[in-house]
Structure formats: structure tokens, C-alpha cells
């Protein structure tokens, strides 16, 4: 026989009092777990459960066992007459209507005939919403004649309108991460909600506050009678108080990093590839532990990034999505700076991250006490448009952060504009190129020779980039109209509609995205067109240099750092689309007129030039020099 001292109401027990203490006795009493299982067995709607989860049915699993093993933790509710809370939420419920159980050592609270989650929250709101104040504060609700409770639940909460003066409401996933102290937690339409209610203030504190009004009446500016119902915050609850999820931030970092890279997105792009190659090189040098903080993308918006070949070097690092972990105050660079201050990595690299650049601008002086800082700038934009980081941040970061760029032209510009500022300086790191193997390039050369020897061929040109206006699509459209006998094939993701960027002519075909440019076959094209004038040193040009294809390139950014007139055809951009298109048309004529031998000389020269400046071993040495790492570590 097992005798358990009980202070709570229970059933199926013989209750009595011994020496004043309440005692409940049950012969052959089961364990706490068995008691709970018994309750579940009595209340679970087995049929509904099996209909909802055919996998459970087909596997022949007892629905009670399945719910206890998995369904409860997953929040599956199939109790028409009961509501369950387990874990921390079970500890929070109050009132005799709740039965308290334990399952695997964790508390479970059950309310028989309880209203649904939504009804529970609606009940709370109905009891607490200050209708009069709400209608006074929001005339739109008053004039529409909407019930304030309904309005707040349907729209006001999501819009940040107040529930009642002094209450703080957090709505969304973060509500589930708030501490238990002083927060009441609910679920509304499947989304967590937490409400920081007003706890009674000690009369002694109220009296002391009010007494100070005789020195300065400002103390009671909010209202002498209302002092005890003003908003309350808890000092150590930084998530509730300032929107910063301390627990989550530090939990997301497994160990102290040697180097931290801040970048906004994990997508296909030259900047992202530059960052990934840099992480790869640093990993190959001495940095075993690199933390990549992705500041704008979330794990959800960047889903699938691990399958992108160009980002594969990032998999050697620990990737943290700042917006997923930081709480709801993600945009304050102060917290990012203080986080890095606590981690004290030896290198901090910021690439195109708005909050990262802001952090360096504000706190770079302090961060530079323990870390060498690097701010990566690619360009100044297209004719001062597009507001890239390189136009905005350098004068604020250069005093304590080395400006790193991928092209000499940008370095010259930065020196001309801000060179007098004292700081670590300005350096060029040419991007890394993965070269084609010699045998593959030889095969491509032979194929090129075969094509150019066919004088009767119709001319076909290939264009590879994201299809958007900043990539020169208007130039391409006009070029196609000037050369109706030629065909233009486009590869790349489309931002919007092809019609919107004017690529509607019948001699233009969008052929989708290329997942791997290095293995693509461009034999059937007569040349590669690069119309973008926004780039620093574009990776696509480097990659195309491995395909033995003549290249017609906008003479912009860092392209001339690598190539010259013996290896590519440069096109000087005019000041308008028409003159730029005319220049490209003239360049295409030049390529088409090349003899087969001159074509082969041209494409071989392009490959040699690219490898001289961008080959992996050259890149690694450059990274070692700039990041002051001994090459012996390789």
C-alpha cells in the first residue's frame, strides 16, 4: 500500500486526515505516470486521433501510447472535454478547475470541459481590456462601432495597440521564449501571446514615491492615483524589457569564434560567393572556428542555402541567423557590438550587412581593441544610384576598419575620397576562381575552333546574370533590336517579369537558371556579353574565362584589373542606353570578324589572365597577407 500526502484535490482516492494533515490512500496505487495514462485513456478521442493520423492507424499503434509518447509534446489535442498544458505552462495555471498530474517527471495540468485556447485568451481579454480607454484612444474603432474586444483580438493586438494601460503584450514566436516570471502566456489562433500584467506594488514603495512629489511634482506627472498601475519591467528580463533574447543569442553560439563574418543574405550572388570563398580561405589558414552571422535572412528565407555550391565553404563555419535568435530588437547595432565584445574574436569581417556596418561605424573603435576589423566594399553604385555599402559607410568605418575591395578601381576611389583618414588602410583582394582543368579547357578550345571555322553559322550570344535592370537589361534589349539576325540567350533568375525589363523581342530567349556554370556548355555561342556596370569584380566573368568563349565586357568595375584588350573586347559605356547598345553592337561585330586563330588567341589569353590573378593559390596567399596569417598554416 502506498500512502501519499496530498494537498490537492484528486479522485479515486480515499481521503482522511491524520494529525491534521490531509491524507489520501489508494490500494495498489499506480505511479504518477500510470495515473496520468489512465486519465488520458479515459478522455482521448481515439477515433478522431486515428482519422487525423493515418500513419498511427496503419502502424497499429495504440493512440493513447502514441499521444503520450509524441502527440502531447507536439501539441496534438484530441480531447473534446479537456485542455492540457505541460511543462512550464502547467506550473502557471491557477484555480481549482485545474487537475495536476505528472508525466515523466514534468508537470501536466488538465482542465475538464475547459474552453479552447482561443476561448481562454478571449476570456482574459474580455476581462482586462480597458474598453473606455481603447475607444478614446482609437477613434477609428469608435466610429466604426466595433466591439473593442473583438477589434483588439482581430487587429489591435497585431497592430501593437494597447490592451490596457500598463500591460505589455508580446505576440508571435518570441512570446514563447519569454521567462515565466510575471508573464501570462496564451495561444491565439495558433500563435503564442504573452502578457506582462501589472503585479501589485508594495504600499511602502508607493508611499515613498508619492512622498517625493513634494520635492518635484514631476514624479507624479502620469497621475497620482495611477502610479501603481503603470507599466512594469523586470531588470533581468532583457527580452521582455528591451526585446533582446539573451538566452537564445548565446545558446546559438556553440563556442568562442576566432573570426566572425557578418553578411546579410545567403543567396546566389557575387557578394555571397566572395564571403564564402573568404571563409573557405580562412578555414584553410588557421581559423578553425568561424562564426557567420547572417543579419537579414532567416533560416526560413535562406532555406536551401546548403545546396548552393558557391556557398559550400560556409558549411565549414557555424552559421547563425541573427533575426532568428536576437529577439524583436534586431536592428540595434549596440547589441551586436556588445556580443562581439564579449566573444572577442581576432577578426571581424563585415560584408554588405547594414547592421554590421552600422556596428563598425559606431563601435569600431572599441571592437578594434581586440579584433582586426574588415569592411568589404565593392562599388559606389551605378552613377551614384543603388546606395551600396561602398557609397555610404567608408568614411565612418575607415578610422578603425580595413576597407577591403575586390577591385583596384574601387580602392583608388576610396583612397581619393577618404585616404587622409587615419586607419588600417585599404586593400584589394581579387576574388577566387575555380579553374577548369587543362584537359577540359583544351576540349573547349577545340570546340571553339570548330564553331568559328563555320563561316555560315548564325550568331548566338549568351548573357548570364540576375535578370534585372541594374544588370543592364535595357542595353541588352536595345542591342537585340539592333541585331535582329542574331540570337540572345539569357540565363539567370528573373526579378519580376521579362516584359517589365523590356526583354520581349523574338530573338531573346530566357533559358532559366544555371545551377553550375563551371560544367555548362557554351560551345554553341559566339560570345559572352556582360552589360552590367554596377559590379566590382564580377565572378561570372572569371567563370566564363574558363569556357574558351570570347567575352564582350562592359569596361566597368575591376574587370580591367584582370583582363586587357588582348584577352577580351571592352565596351566603354555611353551615358545613355542607346549609345551603350551601339558600342556593344560594334564590339559584337569585332568578335564576329575574328579569324579562328585570333579567336583562340583571345580566349586563351583570357584564361591565362584570370588564373594569374585569381587562381586558388594566388587567392590564398592574398588572404594570408591581408589577414596577417602565416602561409605555413596551410
Amino acid at each position: 500500500m502506498k500512502i501519499i500526502l496530498l494537498s490537492r484535490k484528486c479522485w479515486r482516492w480515499l481521503t482522511m486526515r491524520i494529525r491534521g494533515n490531509p491524507v489520501a490512500v489508494r490500494i495498489n496505487a499506480p505511479t504518477e505516470d500510470a495515473l496520468f495514462a489512465e486519465f488520458v485513456r479515459a478522455h482521448l478521442d481515439r477515433q478522431a486521433y486515428l482519422e487525423a493520423y493515418p500513419d498511427v492507424r496503419s502502424a497499429g499503434i495504440d493512440p493513447v501510447k502514441h499521444w503520450l509518447d509524441a502527440g502531447m509534446a507536439e501539441g496534438r489535442s484530441f480531447f473534446p472535454d479537456a485542455t492540457f498544458y505541460h511543462g512550464d505552462r502547467a506550473r502557471q495555471v491557477e484555480g481549482a478547475q485545474w487537475l495536476q498530474f505528472s508525466w515523466l517527471g514534468k508537470p501536466v495540468a488538465v482542465r475538464i470541459n475547459a474552453p479552447t485556447e482561443d476561448a481562454l485568451f478571449a476570456e482574459f481579454v474580455n476581462a482586462h481590456l480597458d474598453r473606455q480607454a481603447y475607444l478614446e484612444a482609437y477613434p477609428d474603432v469608435r466610429s466604426a462601432g466595433i466591439d473593442p474586444v473583438k477589434h483588439w483580438l482581430d487587429a489591435g493586438m497585431a497592430e501593437g495597440r494597447f490592451l490596457y494601460p500598463g500591460a505589455t503584450v508580446v505576440y508571435g514566436d518570441i512570446a514563447g521564449r519569454l521567462g515565466n516570471t510575471n508573464w501570462k502566456r496564451f495561444i491565439w489562433r495558433g500563435i503564442p501571446v504573452a502578457v506582462r500584467t501589472i503585479t501589485p506594488l508594495k504600499p511602502s514603495l508607493i508611499a515613498q514615491i508619492k512622498a517625493q512629489a513634494r520635492h518635484d511634482p514631476t514624479v507624479l506627472a502620469a497621475g497620482a492615483l495611477a502610479i501603481d498601475r503603470l507599466r512594469q519591467v523586470d531588470g533581468q528580463d532583457l527580452l521582455g524589457r528591451g526585446g533582446v533574447d539573451v538566452r537564445n543569442i548565446f545558446a546559438a553560439i556553440p563556442e568562442r569564434p576566432d573570426a566572425v563574418v557578418l553578411m546579410p543574405l545567403l543567396r546566389v550572388g557575387d557578394a555571397e560567393q566572395f564571403a564564402a570563398n573568404l571563409v573557405g580561405a580562412l578555414s584553410a589558414l588557421k581559423y578553425n572556428n568561424i562564426l557567420v552571422i547572417v543579419t537579414d535572412d532567416t533560416a526560413k528565407t535562406a532555406i536551401g542555402w546548403k545546396s548552393l555550391a558557391i556557398l559550400s565553404p560556409l558549411q565549414a563555419a557555424h552559421v547563425m541567423f541573427w533575426r532568428d535568435v536576437c529577439g524583436f530588437n534586431c536592428k540595434d547595432p549596440q547589441y551586436l557590438a556588445r556580443l562581439l565584445n564579449s566573444l572577442r574574436p581576432s577578426r571581424v569581417i563585415v560584408l554588405n550587412s547594414r547592421i554590421g556596418n552600422d556596428m563598425t561605424a559606431r563601435s569600431g573603435r572599441g571592437l578594434s581593441q581586440f579584433a582586426k576589423l574588415y569592411s568589404i566594399y565593392f562599388s559606389l553604385g551605378v552613377r551614384e544610384l543603388c546606395a551600396p555599402a561602398g557609397a555610404r559607410w567608408p568614411y565612418r568605418t575607415l578610422p578603425f576598419s580595413l576597407a577591403l575591395t575586390d577591385n583596384a578601381e574601387m580602392a583608388v576611389t576610396l583612397r581619393r575620397q577618404w585616404g587622409e583618414l587615419q586607419g588600417p588602410g585599404i586593400s584589394v583582394l581579387p576574388p577566387r576562381l575555380q579553374p577548369a582543368e587543362d584537359r577540359i579547357f583544351s576540349a573547349r578550345l577545340m570546340a571553339r575552333q570548330t564553331r568559328v571555322e563555320n563561316a555560315a553559322r548564325s550568331l548566338r550570344w549568351v548573357w548570364v546574370s540576375r535578370v534585372e535592370p541594374s544588370k543592364g537589361t535595357t542595353i541588352l534589349a536595345e542591342l537585340a533590336s539592333m541585331r535582329p539576325a542574331d540570337h540572345f540567350d539569357l540565363f539567370g533568375s528573373v526579378e519580376g517579369d521579362l516584359n517589365e525589363v523590356g526583354l520581349t523581342r523574338p530573338n531573346i530567349t530566357h533559358r532559366g537558371c544555371l545551377t553550375d556554370i563551371s560544367s555548362a556548355d557554351f560551345t554553341d555561342y559566339d560570345g559572352f556579353l556582360f552589360t552590367n556596370i554596377f559590379e566590382g569584380m564580377p565572378n561570372i566573368v572569371l567563370e566564363m574565362s574558363q569556357h574558351a568563349i570570347p567575352m564582350v565586357l562592359a569596361d566597368a568595375g575591376g574587370v580591367r584589373d584582370t583582363f586587357d584588350d588582348r584577352s577580351v573586347h571592352f565596351v566603354a559605356h555611353g551615358h545613355d542606353t542607346h549609345s551603350a547598345a551601339q558600342a556593344f553592337a560594334h564590339a559584337l561585330d569585332g568578335v564576329a570578324a575574328l579569324t579562328p586563330s585570333a579567336t583562340l588567341v583571345l580566349v586563351e589569353a583570357a584564361r591565362v589572365a584570370a588564373l594569374a590573378r585569381h587562381a586558388p593559390e594566388v587567392y590564398l596567399k592574398n588572404v594570408a597577407d591581408i589577414f596577417e596569417v602565416s602561409i605555413n598554416h596551410v
Binding site: I209, Q212, V219, A222, Q236, L238, V244
Partner: protein, 258 residues
């Protein structure tokens, strides 16, 4: 010999010095009436003429007024600690007010038989009051929904790992602490240093003392009243200058733990 020294620090508080001095006088009187020997001092750091004149006229009751020219809150407090004659020190900011029980109860807590030998004591709560709430004034028992004044609670029994990690990102205690003078001399405040980008004297001091295993405790039934300023507050200045707290060499966050 004094049991404690209350030191109020002034910079350019102007008119706010008047209620601060009145509140401090009441605070000191309450402690003296309880039999505590209190030394009351003021430190004026690069004070403007108005503040200097108001302290002179309304602060005649102070035991001493000292003028310095650091232009730094931490260094002003350090000077106050060096000049004080009390066994315990209480620092006050020259634009705040204090519940009248602060000194009496803090001294009682610090000298209780079961009190830690060396602890730093904080008030149980802060009341941050906002002058702009005159435009949002309530005559009833419920405040206006947009009132900005609020209560801030320091909780005892804090989760130590979380507190340690929180302090790397944000302060959780106000600067007006109560502690032994010897502790202040052993752990002086660090100056804000624009050359290194390091500063935030109270946060740095709290981090340093926590990592020196000095307990931070809360004095029950005490409240400080902090004036919310539209501009020019130290926090706003810190944020604008992007200063980072000094960290002890051995202070590292606990990582990877939920």
C-alpha cells in the same frame, strides 16, 4: 568616523539639483534619525555656474562640497570614494530622487548579521518618471495608455548564468549603489575613453564586480526615482558614441546552453 557617506554627483543638472538636494536631505535625515552616522558630500564635476550656485545655496547642510574637472562620471565617483570618511558609500546622481528609506534600509541590510561581508546593494525598484507625462496625465486610477513613466524591478535570486550573459549586452542595475568604501577603492570605476572606444562606467563596474564574485543584492522596500531625460542622459551618450563596456580578461559568456 562615519558609518556611511552619501555622495551626490553633479555635472550640469541646473534646476534638477534642487529637488535632488531636497530629497537627499530627507534621505540623510531619515538615516541619522535611525542612529546612523552619515556624512553627506557633493562632488561637482565640471559643473556649470547655475548648478554650482544652486548647490551652494541649497546645499549648505552638506558636510563637504568638492569640485573636480574630470568630465567623467566614473572618475567623479572614484574621487568621491577617496574623499569619503564613511565605512559604507552611497552614490547618488544629481538629477534623481530617492525613497526616504534607502540609506537606512541599505545600511541595515549591509550590516545584518547574516549579510555577506562584501556585497553591493541595489534598491528593490526604480521608478522612472517622465516629465512629458504631464501631457498624458490621468486623474483616475488607471494611467493613460501612452504614459511613459514605469516601474523597474531588481529581482533577488537571479539565474546566475543568465545574469552573467545579460550583463555582456545590457546593464540590469542602476548606478546608485550602496557598498563598502574598501570595495570601491579596490574596484574603482573606469573612465570613458574615446581613444579606445571603451567606457560605460556603471555597466563595466557591475561586470567587473560580478566576475570578482562579489554578490549583488537587493534591499527590500527601497526605491530610487530616476528622471527620464529627453536628451543628454549618459545612456543616450553611450549609445551615440557606441562605447563598449570594459571586460575583465577572464570574463567570457557561457555559450551553447539553453
Amino acid at each position: 568616523m562615519f558609518d556611511l557617506t552619501a555622495t551626490i554627483i553633479f555635472h550640469r543638472e541646473g534646476a534638477f539639483a534642487l529637488p535632488a538636494l531636497s530629497s537627499m536631505a530627507e534621505l540623510v535625515s531619515a538615516a541619522r534619525e535611525a542612529g546612523i552616522r552619515v556624512e553627506a558630500r557633493a562632488v561637482l564635476d565640471n559643473a556649470d555656474d547655475l548648478t554650482r550656485r544652486l548647490v551652494a545655496s541649497r546645499g549648505a547642510w552638506l558636510d563637504d562640497v568638492e569640485e573636480v574637472s574630470f568630465g567623467d562620471l566614473g572618475l567623479s565617483r572614484n574621487k568621491g570614494a577617496q574623499s569619503a570618511n564613511g565605512k559604507y558609500l552611497a552614490f547618488l546622481d544629481g538629477d534623481d530622487l530617492w525613497g526616504s528609506e534607502w540609506l537606512r534600509l541599505a545600511y541595515a541590510a549591509a550590516t545584518a548579521p547574516d549579510a555577506p561581508t562584501n556585497a553591493i546593494w541595489h534598491p528593490e525598484s526604480l521608478f522612472l518618471f517622465d516629465w512629458n507625462d504631464f501631457d498624458r496625465h490621468s486623474v483616475g486610477q488607471r494611467p493613460r495608455h501612452d504614459a511613459q513613466s514605469f516601474h523597474y524591478f531588481n529581482h533577488p535570486g537571479l539565474d546566475s548564468d543568465l545574469v552573467l550573459n545579460t550583463l555582456f549586452l545590457e546593464s540590469i542595475w542602476s548606478a546608485n549603489v550602496f557598498a563598502k568604501r574598501s570595495l570601491h577603492l579596490r574596484h574603482p570605476y573606469k573612465a570613458a575613453d574615446k581613444e579606445t572606444g571603451l567606457g560605460i562606467e556603471d555597466l563595466s563596474w557591475n561586470i567587473e564586480t560580478v566576475w570578482a564574485n562579489i554578490p549583488h543584492r537587493v534591499v527590500s522596500d527601497t526605491v530610487h526615482l530616476i528622471r527620464v531625460k529627453e536628451s543628454g542622459s549618459l545612456n543616450q551618450k553611450n549609445a551615440a558614441e557606441g562605447l563598449l563596456p570594459y571586460l575583465p580578461d577572464h570574463a567570457w559568456p557561457k555559450l551553447g546552453v539553453r
